[in-house]
Symmetry: C4
Subunit: 508 residues, 4 copies
């Protein structure tokens, strides 16, 4: 950064001259950057960059430091002299105004009775792009929905007349105490939802006695998040492995030095998945409008996923595991295992555990759910006696109720990772969400007759229908409607059959 300091401040009028494809500069947080070479691979397409070319492009969508981190040093043009810059009020759409009104009047947090409520509020009040990023899954979101549905194919076999006066749902993860068998799993770009980003999770994790996993793609910097922890607070780290192993070595060893207690290496994302809702939103917002009015034709589809994931190493393989073990003493866990064969391999390699995960349905559509895989994984690990050295199995994805956590525990999971969707109320929202889970947990453990986590046994669930995956399809698929009504007769469902126009029929 010292080399940057040498540069004399650019005047904003100079930046303004670089406003097209051939030379494309932008100002972010008072610094100028040359994006000419980067623009063609910008995840959001070049259109949006051209819109801000030569102007201030400070946007909440990128965590501060993103450009510093990912743009080569020689493209950092240093601070900008903004004197004389006229601030142009950004035009606000009616939709955005409405959303802000909803955000202002959002329900008091205490009205949230379940995690669904937090989700509904988030959907209602988060900026459209933030919601699109958080909520979108891969392709047709079949796996995203399956993650939820799979839990709903497991039923309880509650036992009665057991003394459930005192309920204790505390447990451990990698030997560290947790107040209930969940952890806050790694999710990216926390500042999209709240200005404090991942620090909300750190504060809430401490307050509620659970463990936070710090994501590689956090909005806050790694050290910010570690600094936000209270003394003695346990944190884990999620790692995307960089093509440049030296960077990875530095990150890992820095983490260990800062006291991180577990290294969760993501193995289900050699390339980041296509999330079309997210991509669509970007077009809807800006891209296509630019395109429409200027006749510009930028191939946005091609570049998006590839650009975002460009630093992640698709060459990562089992051969790298010994190297990881050589650079850190932290327990190593593979995050994203999706069949028993790989769980067995992980245990045989002497790793500390695996997370059965499909990345929240955001990577490969039609990957099975973690809870379904859990059954086969536990069976095969037990068969090979691979659990004896404390090998732990976690799962994530689709959890919304404490009952889900109990089902996973009954099947043999050590803990369950919980993701986002509670960002609309800052860290208090996170605290509240965990409290709700604890309330549900106490209730459900009473009702199944299990006073402690150890009492939650396989006999308490009925998994006979677990692999009965049913893709009911979303209700809005193109091809659901079939019967083409006779003109003037109706299809037997509508109230006013005669009003169905020919156009309607066509669009049905």
């Amino acid at each position: 950064m010292s080399s940057d300091a040498d540069k004399r401040p650019l005047h904003h009028s100079e930046v303004a001259k670089h406003a097209d494809k051939d030379s494309l500069w932008v100002i972010v947080n008072g610094n100028a950057y040359d994006l000419t070479e980067f623009a063609p691979e910008h995840p959001g397409g070049m259109g949006i960059l051209l819109k801000y070319a030569g102007k201030d492009a400070t946007e909440p969508i990128h965590p501060p430091g993103t450009l510093e981190q990912y743009l080569p040093k020689d493209k950092h043009l240093g601070p900008v002299d903004l004197s004389g810059l006229e601030i142009v009020a950004k035009e606000e759409t009616q939709e955005e105004k409405d959303r802000k009104k909803r955000a202002e009047e959002k329900p008091p947090m205490d009205e949230c009775l379940s995690l669904y409520d937090f989700e509904a509020v988030a959907k209602s009040v988060l900026p459209v792009g933030a919601w699109a990023y958080y909520s979108s899954g891969a392709d047709d979101e079949i796996t995203m929905r399956e993650n939820r549905n799979a839990y709903q194919r497991i039923w309880f076999r509650p036992r009665i007349l057991r003394d459930v006066t005192t309920i204790d749902f505390s447990s451990t993860i990698l030997g560290h105490k947790t107040s209930l068998p969940i952890y806050i799993t790694a999710t990216a770009l926390g500042k999209l939802g709240h200005p404090e980003g991942e620090k909300n999770l750190t504060w809430a994790a401490h307050e509620q006695g659970v463990i936070q996993m710090i994501p590689t793609l956090a909005s806050c910097s790694f050290d910010e998040i570690v600094d936000a922890a209270k003394p003695g607070q346990v944190q884990f780290m999620q790692l995307y492995v960089n093509k440049d192993r030296e960077i990875t070595r530095k990150i890992v060893q820095h983490a260990e030095k800062r006291g991180i207690k577990g290294l969760f290496i993501t193995v289900d994302a050699p390339q980041l998945g296509r999330r079309e809702k997210d991509m669509r939103q970007k077009f809807a917002d800006e891209g296509s409008n630019v395109q429409r009015t200027q006749g510009e034709s930028v191939d946005k589809t091609q570049g998006a996923a590839r650009a975002i994931s460009s630093f992640i190493d698709p060459g990562l393989s089992w051969k790298d595991i010994p190297w990881f073990k050589s650079i850190t003493k932290m327990p190593i866990i593979l995050k994203g295992v999706q069949c028993w064969e790989d769980a067995v391999l992980a245990a045989e390699q002497g790793l500390a555990g695996v997370v059965l995960s499909n990345h929240g349905g955001r990577q490969l559509d039609f990957a099975r759910s973690g809870i379904e895989i859990l059954e086969e994984v536990m069976r095969e690990l037990r068969k090979r006696d691979l659990l004896k050295n404390g090998f732990e199995v976690y799962i994530d994805g689709g959890v919304r109720r404490a009952g889900d956590v109990l089902k996973a525990i009954a099947l043999g999971a050590k803990a369950v990772g919980i993701g986002h969707a509670y960002s609309a109320y800052g860290h208090e929202g996170v605290i509240k969400a965990i409290q709700i889970l604890k309330d549900e947990m106490e209730m459900n453990m009473r009702l199944i007759g299990a006073p402690t986590i150890q009492d939650v046994t396989p006999e308490m669930i009925d998994t006979s229908g677990l692999s009965n995956r049913l893709v009911d399809g979303a209700s809005d698929y193109l091809m659901r409607a079939n019967y083409e009504p006779l003109a003037g007769v109706g299809n037997g469902l509508g109230a006013q059959p005669r009003l169905i126009s020919k156009e309607t029929k066509a669009s049905l």
Copy 2:
């Protein structure tokens, strides 16, 4: 109560001074009560209490006597002198006006052709809070719906050309005659739906020759309900076991003295379940409004379930069974058994029977339905020869048609418990509902070729799909819609694709 009589009447203006958190008095039915200590654990939250603090809080939601029963004696402040009190007309919402109009114009009872109709009428005309209380199930109401769905996975194998001129569906329960193999099961707070509360059930039970089970949480007092019975009318009692066993002993022995013929101990509710629709309604009505306008922050979620269920003993266990047998000669039945292992235990303990029940889907979501459990329970009891001493098995939950009753009988149940949903027409409605069931029963027994209950055999049903539980989810879940349409194109379902606004897309 005599000690109360000594107190001199308070003037209402005195009560009015105790109108905040630090001193919170209310007037109910002309008596004052000090709720200062109780307020933080009020099931409905403190907000609603503050609204009525220092004022008259007589509300139909609590059965008369509730405060007397549950509030410590020293908080009973005695009668209030209401002289000079100005009656302020309570503002009525448009919704409430509409509901009352619907109630006035409700369809003549004879238009009700099935139990669904009674349900639809109740939903339309009952006070919002009453309907919310009666209709809500635990969590996502998966079990509540499953209770109904499970019956719909059993099909008939009717036999033909059997003489079905005379149909006799009378049977016995614990040796007592019933005109058909059902009983009116215990459901709480009957006065929410009708001023006569549970007495409607008593009268109708007598008129129709069926047996009523008196609930612990009735709106009417136990003695009122017993007094409403005609000479010779059989009644059972449902029992929530109190932490203070002396109270329980008194209740049980009083019941036996009053002629109760069976003691049904509830074992599926060490804590009362979370019923979010019910909780939501309370917020919608009052809580959140207070909160919004006064910026007050009361944690209502935490306290609700716990406060209501505070007297129920979560420590109740198999060890208590001998004690129950020692204090009463009434046959003892466990209500809420949910797997064969516990049914076997109950039979081995020499109890009179079990009710396979998940509490109408109001306790543990994802508990299986009684009708599904019935199959495994009968198989295991038969295998161990545990039916020989007259051990009887009942089920409840989800019954809406006489065909459901027949399915349960065919599987081996002795009788089926029927719950509420017919309160909008008082005791005549209950009579009518039972008549409908009898009509359906006669018809269905004719059509399957079984002139008597004994002729209803396992061969007459096809249960091959019984455990094929399918959670189709409610139609309004957050995540059903997937395809995010292109701007201006539509998703192939809507009639006017170009009118879909960006906001709509976001909210989809």
Copy 3:
């Protein structure tokens, strides 16, 4: 009838005096009848009769001759002198006006491409009561829908490269030639849909070379229908067995004399089923209005099903079979067999065949579909070698496509019965509907590679999912909606979440 002739004509003003419960006369087709005793058991309730008491009650809903046939002779009051009677124009509802307009403008018949189209037109243009009668099924109509659904669980395994230049789908039923393996099964009250009633079916059957089964409850008289047949045209008869066997003997022997070629005894209707849509319609039309405005309370529910079916003998049993064989030489077929055990009994009794049928889903809800039963029936009959004497198996219910017919044939059925739903175009509609089936038949036989009915073999279908009955429930059940949205947030489906009123939430 000669005794009637002796009576002197009553003047209509005399009839008008008998206009209440105590003396209730009506005029039908110019004759007066005393309904005082009959009124309390009138299927449509007493309300509607009171409306017409003392007046002309000629209504298309009852086939001419109904009163003559079912009312005791002494209640026939003879012809009425109508001189001076003022014709009061009957008030017509807007709904009825709209319907008539739709009927006038109904699509040209040739636009009907499938049987669904005929159904849609009928629904649109038939009088509300007629549609309600034709379309309603028992209870929740689960079986009615299952009849259709079951066919949709059978898939084809078509064979290729077979010479299908010439397709011949002719076959025989009881040795009589039919142009395709279907017959027109018995359905009641044909005049509700068209003034020519069942004669339309007779004419069309002849024109298309198929066989008609004459129903006991036809709108036209038996002889009318037989007279409508062309020389050599084969007809069968469906029989409801009367409690008075002499009446039955007369009917059967008269039929045989008139040339009827097969006697189909209905065995699935000892009592006629509850069809609530049908019952509801009656209330909606008239009953409840009378009731509402006059405060009258008639128990219509009780009497309806029972009164209609009062002449049918619920005592009919296997013991009666020899008697039937003694009174006729016609082949005897049992219509309404619903499990293999009874099909085996029928074959063992030396009967000519069985119809696997649940009465179109109009009798016992949750009876399985004929096509599902067909598989077990054929297996058990073959196992016992009971097909060797020409025992034939038919099915009916749920057929809408020629593909359905082929599936039944492949499973071993000899022919398939087709019911109504094509009444809106008179006999031309029936002809057209059969032509459509033939078109589909030719097409489908070509496409599965079977040039003749004999080539349609079990290997051509995949029935692996046949018993996978799924009750998806109708889309309008009371309890489908679950997620109770936060005020002002929405449930993620609606476009304008803030507009959901509290009332809406309650009614959801």
Copy 4:
């Protein structure tokens, strides 16, 4: 054609005299034709022909050359002298105007993120008749939807930690290289969607390195399509076999001479299927209007399918296979095999391969999907060692995602045929669609851990639910609604129960 040249030009006023059933001439592309004899069998019915009788009937629906090809030579009346012809502006419906506006403003192609988007755009902007033709399936479109659904019952079992830096999805078909294992399958009438018709596919196939199969029923002539190919570009040919084998011999040998590399004989269409949506559209457009206003009664249903398919030989059988082998050296593949028995026969006959296909669900409804059949076919071929001579198996139908292609490959398919739905953007749209598939392919192969096509193994998919076919029915079937609400009460779903009119109830 030389004989036509001898005729002197007709004046358009002469043609105008032949404007009724008895003499029906039309002008197409400046030539006159006598359709008097053909009219009764015109697929679109005679009504539409009468509308254009004596006038110019040049319409985009028929590929140029259709009349020349199918109408006997003596009905070709030669060129028309159009001098003095007044051009009458064709009246345009509002629907058509709206569609054209949508077409003008259609989204920029780059906004299409998936094949669904191309489908949605096509539906929105194509002429109604074109969309109806392209999108319609046989009967109830159960098979058409099943083709898609079946893929959604196969799930992935991804492997992790494999080096997926380089992804190579190239493969071969019949020994010819393809850039990914798909080919563009034959679909008819390409000009309905775009004026360049099938040439768009040729150009795109070359650009993207995939193989095109030329359809018999192309809009462009065979030679046009072959001429559009670049040197070295591989093309296959799809063949409907003519009753006149000489015509077929000429076509096949001409194709071989022009360099076609594979002959795909369609065996699933001895007669073209009934596609009711398509048929309906024709009525909606014109037919029924003519009929309504003129009282004309033309039986359009009868003739449609038969007329179109009249040249196809329904007598084609296994006996013809040797003859095909005798007239060409091209590899012969049967397209439309639908069970393992026929796949085995094909391999035993020494053919080059089979396409498991149900013709896109456009022929026999309830034919199973290709992907389901693939499993049994591969098993039986392997069992008989019939794959050893390079016998290849392809499938088509229902593919929308690269994941679908991978599932087929994992099950043993050599390649997958992709059909239309991307016509709204000309050849660039086709290119874009293939690029999207390649993007998805690269992503998905990374995510399942398979760097090359050879690494895609059966262990990577879970087909346990593959044959769990579920016909959920279209959402607009006639009989979905069941609960008939009480007047004034509602069914529990609607927001305003009191507003449901009687008519609505009837139409529900």
